[in-house]
């Protein structure tokens, strides 16, 4: 039974449960709804919830767990001797899946029945004709595992359909049996709904747990294959496909910091001055036009900035600055990425600073003007000190964005991992290397791939630290005005 049909049946059962529950309750009191504890609809709602929710919950869990259980059972049937040198269970299992897929195709095309195929001498050639190309010789136990795999999947999905439907019916029967005029249907269904709400709110926690677990787990795996001090103290980044790579994080950190620094050098002064001008000087009309225009910059996807760096800013910087000055010949450079990222960050700095400057009470300004200060003196000596914690928070948030930004640096900064002071050199960042190590055909057992998780963890820790620090500063030093 396909997933869509199964869910539709459960949904239909639940809908039927709603009407049945309502009718049942009304029938118990001979149609006199006043004698019921709750409104008739609540009896229906209770039945609906008891029918649908457990069934869908089990369905979701089953779908998540089924592949893992089947994999484990099938993987158990493969003898260790059948795993070739330099390979792993994971790789053999991917062969198993592909063979199972191929058998499926051959059988469905009606060329051979399954036992015939399994007994066939040249199963590899037969599968290749079905469009499943296999690398080396197929061992008998692997074919056996593939057949097992194929047999287990439909059995499991049949069991799932049965269990889900049984659960839906059982829930319905349970809820229907409890209906009586004194049954507190509203309270029961409201409690049920409240638990659903609580469950929804834990998704945020589960996401964080998922992020941390997946990063930490794979990072530990990485450090088993590659020594931690070489990762943290080596200054060379040179991954090799054949092993023996140098995976020092320093060149990447250097590139990240350099790009972020340039981005902040652009965005912080521009953002703060723009915020000051818009909050203190601009007429209403200028503000109404300029503020949304600057905020549009925050809504533009980063890939657009990346392309802008690649086709406009990069070549321009190369032709007008780097080449005439003889300090670089590459269009992707730290300067390109930094400049474009700086533009992207302007609204992050300016909107937050603008809000904070506006929150400084007018009385402080009036007091300063009363003492004879000019407007700029008021800004510099009264408003900025009062707004400073908020502005620092905004800058820290912008810095965290800069460190985690990916597309601009992928397209603008280059891929060469080096530590140089020249801003017109192409350098690379942590995020660029995460992308390049994890895209393309990679196997999941090599340090060259797993290093991306260690880099991701580093990135996560850095940005988390900056965010927490920013929130802390904003909360701790916020001036409380009446």
């Amino acid at each position: 039974m396909s997933l869509g049909i199964l869910s539709l049946i459960v949904a239909a059962l639940a809908a039927a449960g709603f009407f049945l529950g309502r009718r049942f309750a009304l029938a118990k009191v001979a149609g006199d709804a006043r004698r019921l504890h709750s409104l008739p609809g609540y009896y229906g709602q209770t039945v609906f919830l008891f029918t649908a929710v457990p069934a869908f919950l089990v369905l979701g869990l089953w779908l998540l767990i089924q592949p893992i259980v089947i994999e484990n059972r099938v993987a158990g049937t493969i003898a260790p001797a059948d795993i070739p040198e330099g390979s792993s269970v994971g790789l053999v299992m991917s062969d198993v899946r592909r063979i199972a897929d191929g058998i499926e195709r051959v059988v469905s095309e009606g060329r051979m029945t399954e036992p015939e195929l399994a007994a066939h001498d040249d199963i590899r050639g037969e599968l290749a004709s079905a469009g499943v190309a296999l690398g080396n010789d197929v061992r008998p136990s692997v074919v056996e595992a593939a057949r097992n795999y194929r047999d287990l999947s439909p059995a499991s999905s049949l069991a799932m359909s049965g269990l889900v439907l049984a659960l839906a019916l059982a829930g319905m029967a349970f809820a229907l049996r409890r209906i009586s005029p004194d049954f507190r249907a509203r309270n029961v269904s409201e409690t049920f709904v409240r638990y659903l709400l609580i469950a929804a709110s834990t998704v945020a926690i589960l996401t964080t747990v998922g992020i941390v677990l997946s990063l930490v787990f794979e990072t530990v795996h990485f450090f088993r294959l590659y020594s931690a001090d070489k990762f943290f103290f080596n200054t060379v980044w040179n991954p090799q496909f054949r092993g023996g790579s140098d995976l020092g994080i320093w060149p990447l950190l250097w590139g990240t910091m350099y790009v972020s620094l340039i981005a902040l050098l652009v965005s912080v002064p521009v953002g703060i001055f723009a915020a000051i001008y818009l909050a203190e000087y601009a007429s209403k009309r200028v503000r109404a036009v300029a503020k949304p225009m600057i905020e549009i910059l925050a809504g533009i996807p980063t890939i657009v900035y990346g392309l802008f760096a690649l086709i406009t800013v990069g070549p321009m910087l190369r032709d007008f600055f780097a080449q005439p000055m003889g300090i670089g010949s590459s269009s992707s450079s730290v300067m390109t990425a930094g400049l474009v990222m700086g533009i992207m960050l302007i609204p992050f700095v300016s909107s937050l600073s603008d809000d904070i400057i506006n929150a400084v009470p007018q009385s402080l300004r009036d007091g300063s003007y009363g003492l004879g200060a000019t407007q700029s003196e008021t800004v510099k000596q009264v408003i900025l000190p009062a707004a400073l914690p908020g502005i620092v928070g905004a800058i820290l948030l912008a810095a965290s964005r800069a460190i985690g930004e990916t597309m601009i640096v992928v397209l603008g900064a280059g891929a060469a991992a080096k530590m140089s002071l020249n801003p017109f050199d192409a350098m690379t960042t942590v995020t660029v290397k995460i992308v390049s190590q994890l895209t393309g055909d990679t196997e999941f057992a090599s340090p060259e791939t797993l290093v991306a998780f260690a880099l991701g963890l580093t990135l996560f820790v850095f940005t988390l630290g900056l965010n927490v620090l920013a929130l802390y500063i904003v909360r701790k030093y916020r001036e409380q005005y009446e």
Binding site: L197, T207, I303, L471
Partner: protein, 444 residues
């Protein structure tokens, strides 16, 4: 006042040096501010014009229009018009037919330059055109034996010549096109055999290989992005609203709620690429979901969008005045009834606005999708949902990235064109959000 300024007996009408300095500094400060705002606005304008300038070309494409005789002897040897039989004729067969048709047309108009080989003349036609003709014939076998007017894509270099990307000088150095071919193209344009027209294929066709930029389109990417947005909407709206209702209306203030709050604030600031790593590790490696499928992309984007939606929804719920709740509770509604019957409907416009903005953010996100295999080259449209959610697909922003990674400069134009499509979608969504807000937002 310093002693100097009071005793010197200067007129009040004459500004002294110190005031001048202070005024000058005031003026400077103002100019810095204006310059900063100007820089921001200028950056936006330059950004948009640079993308629009390079991208608009992608919406116009050079086509050759000519009569093509679909020779029954080569296309359908058995003569029974059976598509399965006719499929045995490969694109090479159709390429020859197209080449012959073009040469026939050119000879008739006396345009063929001396000494130009048939292969060079045929080189004007895109390599993709035979495949398109083949599909057209296989879809409608009755065409065989007739002479139809066929609009064939011109080669990418010829197209680039009319868009200013290829010049006579660059063609002389290029092994893919010769100046003679460009001259012929010029003549054909004058004879109305060749011209630029609106390129629907760019919007609806799938991606094409690295060597055929003229045929590359966004069809699969737009469909993939649409599927992902459906998944994001279906999952993140109910989850986000449920979570916000709990946190805003029901949650007691305790450690657990505090933990959830801190978590949401943090998730909103986690770099998007980290969500990609999460998707790769959990959905693909652990749960064995298919790579580059809209389902995985949609799930990852859902997790990314949830904090945005939760923050917007909570603000909208908070904006509903307590008097409404008090009135509902006062006439005997339960807490749940108050929330679901009174607070939630009033907060709905704000929630929808927040959701649309969250979706717009998700639509433009690229980095996490790169990690879950969306970069793969996909030519087949994903099937109809729900099974189609598991088929490989591309996404608009990822398609932009893919285009930028190819060598032919024609793909830069395609990338910018794809960005224009993306920005049009984003603009529509944002305008929708603004309209919703204007229409339904209530000030209490």
């Amino acid at each position: 006042m310093t002693a100097e300024s009071t005793n010197s007996g200067t007129s009040l009408y004459k500004t002294d040096a110190r005031t001048k300095r202070r005024n000058a500094s005031e003026a400077r400060f103002r100019i810095y501010g204006m310059a900063a705002v100007g820089f921001g606005v200028l950056a936006l304008i330059v950004l948009l014009t640079s993308v629009l300038g390079t991208g608009l070309g992608a919406f116009r494409q050079t086509f050759l229009t000519m009569p093509v005789a679909l020779d029954a002897a080569t296309l359908d040897k058995k003569g029974n018009r059976d598509p399965a039989e006719m499929a045995k004729v490969t694109t090479i067969g159709y390429q020859k037919i197209l080449e012959k048709a073009l040469i026939a047309e050119l000879t008739e108009q006396k345009l063929i330059p001396e000494g130009m080989s048939a292969k060079d003349v045929g080189g004007l036609i895109s390599k993709e055109a035979p495949a398109q003709l083949r599909n057209k014939v296989l879809a409608n076998p009755e065409l065989v034996g007739q002479t139809i007017t066929f609009r064939a894509l011109a080669n990418g270099r010829i197209d680039g010549y009319f868009k200013g990307r290829v010049t006579m000088e660059s063609a002389a150095l290029d092994s893919n096109v010769s100046p003679a071919q460009l001259e012929l193209a010029d003549k054909m344009r004058a004879a109305n055999l060749l011209g630029l027209s609106f390129n629907w294929g760019f919007i609806f066709d799938p991606d094409a290989s690295e060597l055929r930029p003229e045929a590359a389109g966004l069809g699969v990417a737009i469909l993939g992005s649409l599927y992902m947005m459906i998944i994001v909407l279906v999952l993140s709206l109910p989850l986000g609203v449920a979570a916000s209702i709990y946190l805003e209306e029901f949650a007691p203030t305790n450690r657990w709620t505090d933990l959830i709050e801190v978590n949401i604030a943090n998730l909103a600031a986690v770099p998007s690429i980290v969500f990609g790593i999460l998707g790769l590790a959990v959905f693909i490696n652990f749960a064995n979901m298919p790579q580059s499928s809209p389902l995985v992309g949609g799930l990852v984007l859902t997790l990314m969008t949830l904090p945005t939606i939760i923050i917007a929804t909570r603000a909208a719920l908070k904006a509903v005045p307590p008097s409404i709740k008090d009135a509902a509770l006062g006439v005997g509604a339960s807490k749940t009834q108050t929330v679901f019957h009174h607070v939630l409907p009033l907060a709905m416009p704000g929630i929808l606005t927040g959701t649309i903005i969250g979706l717009a953010q998700a639509l433009g996100e690229t980095a996490p999708l790169l990690l879950i295999g969306m970069v793969a080259f996909v030519r087949d449209y994903p099937g109809a949902p729900p099974e189609g959610f598991l088929d490989p697909a591309s996404a608009l922003p990822v398609q932009v990235y893919n285009f930028t990674q190819r060598a032919d400069p024609a793909f830069i134009e395609r990338a910018s064109g794809a960005i224009i499509v993306l920005l049009v979608f984003l603009l529509t969504m944002n305008i929708l959000a603004i309209i919703l807000r204007r229409r339904f937002e209530r000030r209490w």
